[in-house]
Amino acid sequence: MARRTRYWTQRIAKVLIWAAALSTIAVMVLILVQILREGIPVLSFHFFLGSPRDMGRGGGILPTIVGTFALTAVAIFFAAPLGVGTAIFLREYTKEGRISRLIRFGTDCLAGVPSIIFGLFGFVFFVIYLNMGWSILSGGLTLAAMILPTIISTAEEAIKATPGSYREVSYSLGGTKWQTVTRAILPSALPGIFTGIILSVGRSIGETAAVILTAGSSLLMPTSLFSPIRTMSVHFYILAREGISMEMAYGTGAALILLVLFINTLAHWLINRYIHRRT
């Protein structure tokens, strides 16, 4: 009897867990299908390369695409060296101790800070205190602070995965620590580091709360790092929330999703390739 009950319990548990897994996939698919079905018909050559007209009711989204990429580039430009440098320091230059604990604590906490708080911070610090105004630079620096933890942790994983023999060989040939890091460890960790950067690009593209407070929402084509811009996510948000144009909102949303899908596929293709090569 007891034997029978426990097999029944197992069967019920199995059904419930299958249901949960399948419904997660289903929701995922529903979200994608809804936006892509309505949005893809809007996408056209003109949509991607035209300038918005009438607050975004018509025309295209070119300035927001340029803005998105400019902002992301600035963010990566600052966050990648800081993140990889931190990872190198944690893995190669220090033992587990007070300093490394402090650094890890800072990174963990930073990873948990909500994006709206980054937005508030970027607004007082970059926009007002450093007088950069609503600009690509302010927004990019704010995003850099936000994606730093991701870059640190993926770079650290990648450096950790480098075989110890690389270090031994380099040192035994008389290499200095810095030579070992730059010539033996970094080249082998590069795909992992790159994957982290791609994931951060995805996060930067999708970010709205922090960006709207630091980069502004101008629809003009940016001319310098100090120009205010509106990213695709912010544009999508404003179109939908202010009810400016559902059609254009769906189009922008579909473009966003396709971009994020592409970036994620690329990152996971890299991860798989990288892991397969290792094992």
Binding site: L30, Q34, G85, I103, F105, G106, P114, I117, I257, V260
Partner: protein
């Protein structure tokens, strides 16, 4: 050569301190902007006040604190069982074909921008809630449902790591004693991975409390104490997100002060998560 190596080491230390420096800067500037207002109207009146009318100078954020927790607990009620089930599915049952879809689906859930979730909630979920359950549709329930899915990747990835870190002897021992697969999972593996799972839930909670854009789109944004899950609500994050665009003077400081409260809650959760997962290492 020696000197160059020393300089590089110092420079790297400086770089490595960047994250803690940024955290310090964030703390300093948010407090510097927000504290004056809290002192001006009194911390009690700010935190326990129920009226938020910036034009009349009343800044009470209790309804937003309460709403934030309602939305978050609603999200956890959906996210915890679903997240645990998906974790078990991925680590233990993994029929390869389905896992090959589920894993990328979860990665994608993490990658989809929050405005997309909000928009989907607005055009699909809100009308469903309005038509079948009543109320304005823009409600705590809609917000919780969306957040429940948004926090899944956090819960799953961290609890999966802690399940995978268990020594294989746990499983072998339980199975050798004649336990069923389910008994092994539920009575041995999950309890053993408890601290990681708890940490994943705390971090998921932080994620839910901190979400802004999706919540602005589906919560309806009315400032009032919630009395039902079908009520429209305004959380701490959405209060900042909605009004920051046009606020100035005291009003802007009050939004930074709202940020301080949010920041403190999130930091407490961060500390808890770090504490809980550190215990696992010892």
């Amino acid at each position: 050569m020696e000197i160059k190596e020393k300089i590089i080491e110092k420079l790297l230390l400086l770089v490595a301190l960047s994250s803690i420096t940024i955290l310090g800067l964030i703390t300093f500037f948010i407090f510097e902007e927000g504290i004056p207002l809290i002192l001006k109207i009194g911390p009690r009146a700010f935190i326990l006040g129920q009226r938020w009318v910036p034009s009349q100078g009343s800044y009470g954020i209790l309804p937003m604190i309460v709403s934030s927790f309602w939305v978050t607990f609603g999200a956890l009620a959906l996210g915890i069982p679903l997240g645990l089930a998906c974790t078990i599915f991925l680590c233990e049952w993994t029929p390869p074909a389905v896992a090959m879809i589920l894993r990328p689906a979860i990665h994608l859930l993490a990658a989809i921008p929050s405005v997309i979730y909000g928009f989907w909630g607005l055009v699909v979920l809100v009308p469903l809630v309005r038509n079948y359950l009543g109320g304005p549709g823009l409600s705590i329930l809609s917000g919780s449902l969306i957040l429940g899915f948004m926090i899944l990747p956090t819960i799953i990835s961290i609890s999966e790591d802690s399940l995978k870190a268990l020594p294989p002897t746990y499983r072998q021992g339980a199975l050798a004693l004649g336990a069923t697969h389910w008994q092994t999972i539920w009575r041995v593996l999950i309890p053993a991975a408890r601290s990681g799972i708890v940490a994943s839930i705390i971090l998921g909670m932080g994620r839910a409390l901190g979400e802004t854009m999706a919540m602005i789109m589906v919560l309806g944004n009315a400032v009032k104490m919630p009395s039902s899950f079908l009520d429209s609500a305004r959380t701490l994050t959405t209060n900042i997100g909605i009004e920051m665009g046009y606020a100035s003077g005291d009003h802007r400081q009050a939004l930074f002060a709202t940020g301080i409260i949010l920041f403190l809650i999130i930091m407490i959760l961060n500390f808890l998560a770090i504490f809980v997962s550190r215990r696992r290492v010892d």
